[in-house]
C-alpha cells in the first residue's frame, strides 16, 4: 500500500518534470526550424543555437554583470519582505491604522514605477540604492496584501477556544494567527520573487553602468540580438532560481501545509487567494 503510493508519487513527479521539459524541447525545435526555413535575419530573431553560442562566447561578460544584478535582487527582495511584513502587521494592529494606511497601500501601486525610478536616481546617485528602492517598491505589495489577508485567516473559533485556555493576546498571535498567516505570506513571496527581477531591470535601465538590465541596453545599441537573448534567459533563470528558493523554504518551514494539500482539502486549511497562486505559477 505504502509502496504503491510511493511509486505513484515518483511517477507523477517524473511526469511533472518531463512534461514541461518535452514542451521546451519542442518549442526550441520549432524555433530552430523556423529560423532555418524562413530567411529571418539573425539580428531580429537568432536561432537557439546562435543564442547558446553567443552566450558561451560572452560568458565572462554575462557572469560579471549577473552577480551585480543578483546582489541588487537579493537586497531588494529582502527589503521588500521587511517592508511588506512590517506594513501588514502595522495595518492589522488597529482599525484606525488600517483605515489610514490601506488606501495608500493601493495607491502606491498606481504609481508607474519606471516613472519614479529617475527620481530615486536623483536622490541617491548611480549606485545600488535606487535599484533596491525600485525592487522594494514593486515587490513589497503582494507580500503586504497577502500577509494582511493571512493575519485574518486564523479561525475565530480557535481564537475563542484559546481565550478559554487563558491565552494572552501575544500567545494568540504567536500560536494561532502567525502560523495561520504563513502560507499566505509565502504565496506573496512567490509573486514578489518574479517582480523583483522586473524591478532590477527597470532600476538598471534608468541609471546604471553595469548589471544584466544595463547590458541589454548596450547590446540593443550594438544590435547584438543573440547575446541579448542570452541575457534575457539569464534574467529568467535568476527569477526561476529565486522562486525555487522560496518554494524550498516553504517546504522546509511549512511541512504541514504540503501534507494537508496532498490530502483532500476538507480540513479548513486556508488556501491562499487563487490569483496570487496563478501569478506565481506564471513565472
Amino acid at each position: 500500500m505504502g509502496n504503491g503510493r510511493r511509486r505513484l508519487g515518483l511517477e507523477s513527479r517524473a511526469a511533472r518534470i518531463a512534461a514541461p521539459a518535452i514542451f521546451a524541447v519542442l518549442v526550441l525545435a520549432v524555433w530552430q526550424l523556423y529560423t532555418v526555413v524562413s530567411d529571418v535575419p539573425e539580428s531580429s530573431l537568432p536561432s537557439p543555437t546562435e543564442i547558446a553560442r553567443a552566450g558561451w562566447d560572452n560568458r565572462q561578460l554575462l557572469l560579471d554583470n549577473m552577480w551585480i544584478t543578483i546582489e541588487e535582487i537579493l537586497i531588494g527582495f529582502a527589503a521588500a519582505i521587511v517592508l511588506g511584513v512590517v506594513l501588514a502587521m502595522l495595518i492589522r494592529s488597529s482599525r484606525t491604522v488600517e483605515r489610514a494606511l490601506y488606501p495608500w497601500l493601493v495607491v502606491s501601486q498606481m504609481v508607474p514605477v519606471p516613472a519614479v525610478a529617475p527620481i530615486f536616481v536623483i536622490w541617491t546617485g548611480f549606485d545600488l540604492r535606487p535599484k533596491i528602492m525600485v525592487i522594494a517598491l514593486v515587490a513589497f505589495f503582494p507580500i503586504a496584501v497577502n500577509t494582511i489577508d493571512g493575519l485574518r485567516a486564523a479561525d475565530p473559533q480557535l481564537l475563542r477556544l484559546m481565550r478559554t485556555l487563558k491565552a494572552s493576546r501575544w500567545q494568540r498571535f504567536r500560536y494561532a494567527q502567525l502560523p495561520a498567516a504563513l502560507p499566505f505570506v509565502f504565496s506573496g513571496l512567490k509573486v514578489a520573487a518574479a517582480l523583483s527581477v522586473i524591478g532590477a531591470v527597470f532600476g538598471e535601465w534608468v541609471g546604471a553602468s553595469e548589471g544584466l538590465g544595463y547590458l541589454i541596453l548596450v547590446l540593443n545599441n550594438a544590435t547584438d540580438t543573440a547575446t541579448m537573448f542570452a541575457t534575457i534567459f539569464l534574467l529568467a533563470l535568476i527569477g526561476i532560481a529565486l522562486f525555487g528558493l522560496v518554494m524550498l523554504l516553504e517546504r522546509l518551514l511549512l511541512p504541514w501545509y504540503h501534507e494537508a494539500r496532498k490530502e483532500t482539502n476538507d480540513d479548513g486549511v486556508a488556501e491562499p487567494p487563487p490569483d496570487a497562486v496563478e501569478i506565481g505559477a506564471r513565472l
Partner: protein, 268 residues
C-alpha cells in the same frame, strides 16, 4: 437535607442582546436559567437549535458576561470564568500546523508547562484516547473520530474540573458516534470529571448522563430536568434496549417536540 456544594450552579441566569435595528427594546436569549451540577456528575442539555445553548455555553466558558443572575463555581461566584472551565466546541479546531501530539498539549503549554514536560504528560494519555502511534502525524491525516478524541484529550489535559462539550460527536457517522459514546463513558468513569454535554440526540443524552435538562428557546430556559438513574456501568445494547430507557425517552420527547414546534412557529 443540605446539599453538598455544587460544582457548577447558575442562579437566575439571564442574557439579553440589543434588538435588531428598528425594533425597540432588547432580545432575550436566556431567561432565568437555573442549573446545578454536582462534582463528578455527567449532565446533558437537549434542545432544538437556536434555543440558547451556545449563549449559555459562552457565559459558562467566560467568553461573554451574563445580563443578570450569577454563576457559582464550587459555591463561589466567579469574577471571570475565562480559563476556569474546559470548553470543547463542536468543531475539533485542531491546528493544522501542529502534529497531533503538539495539538493536545496546547492547554498545558499556554499555562506555562514546559514543552517537554507537556509532551511527556500527553504521550502517556495517548493509548487511553486511542491515539497511540499517531503522535507525530498532522491532523489532516487522521479520521474525524480520532480528531475529536485528540480535541477531547486537549481539553482533558488542560486540567479543568468542569468540561463543556458542545455536540462533540455531532459531525460523526452513526457507528463512529456510538463507539465514541462508549469510549467517553469509560474515560469519564476513570477520571470522574464533571461534564456538561450538549446534544440534539435524546438517546445519546440518556445513554451518557446522570441527568438531562430539556431546553426550549426564545428566551432560552430549562423546561424539564429528568433523572436518568439507569445503572452504571452502561453498555450500549443492554442499556438502550431496557424498558426504563424507552420510558425515559418518551418522557423527554414530548416536551422536546413542543419546544421545537415553538421554535419553528416563531421562525415562521
Amino acid at each position: 437535607m443540605p446539599a453538598p456544594t455544587a460544582r457548577l450552579r447558575t442562579e437566575g441566569l439571564t442574557k439579553t442582546f440589543p434588538a435588531r435595528s428598528g425594533a425597540d427594546g432588547r432580545l432575550s436569549a436566556l431567561e432565568g436559567v437555573e442549573m446545578t451540577i454536582d462534582p463528578g456528575e455527567f449532565v446533558s442539555i437537549v434542545g432544538p437549535s437556536g434555543c440558547g445553548k451556545s449563549t449559555l455555553f459562552n457565559l459558562l466558558a467566560g467568553l461573554d458576561r451574563p445580563s443578570g443572575g450569577r454563576i457559582l463555581l464550587d459555591g463561589r461566584p466567579a469574577e471571570s470564568l475565562l480559563g476556569e472551565i474546559g470548553y470543547m466546541p463542536q468543531a475539533d479546531l485542531l491546528m493544522p500546523w501542529r502534529t497531533v501530539l503538539d495539538n493536545t498539549v496546547l492547554g498545558l503549554q499556554l499555562s506555562g508547562v514546559s514543552r517537554r514536560e507537556a509532551r511527556e504528560r500527553a504521550r502517556e494519555e495517548f493509548p487511553r484516547f486511542g491515539l497511540e502511534g499517531f503522535e507525530d502525524v498532522w491532523p489532516a491525516q487522521i479520521s474525524g473520530g480520532m480528531r475529536q478524541r485528540a480535541a477531547l484529550l486537549r481539553t482533558f489535559l488542560a486540567g479543568r474540573e468542569v468540561m463543556l462539550l458542545d455536540e462533540p460527536f455531532g459531525a460523526l457517522d452513526a457507528l463512529t458516534r456510538q463507539e465514541m459514546q462508549q469510549w467517553l463513558l469509560r474515560i469519564w468513569q476513570e477520571d470522574r470529571k464533571t461534564i456538561l454535554f450538549v446534544t440534539h440526540d435524546v438517546e445519546e443524552a440518556l445513554f451518557l448522563s446522570d441527568r438531562v435538562y430539556v431546553m426550549s428557546g426564545r428566551p432560552g430556559r430549562f423546561e424539564l430536568c429528568v433523572d436518568v438513574g439507569l445503572e452504571r456501568p452502561r453498555e450500549l445494547e443492554r442499556t438502550t434496549t431496557a424498558p426504563e430507557f424507552a420510558e425515559l425517552k418518551l418522557k423527554l420527547i414530548e416536551p422536546l417536540r413542543r419546544a421545537s414546534a415553538a421554535a419553528h412557529a416563531e421562525d415562521a
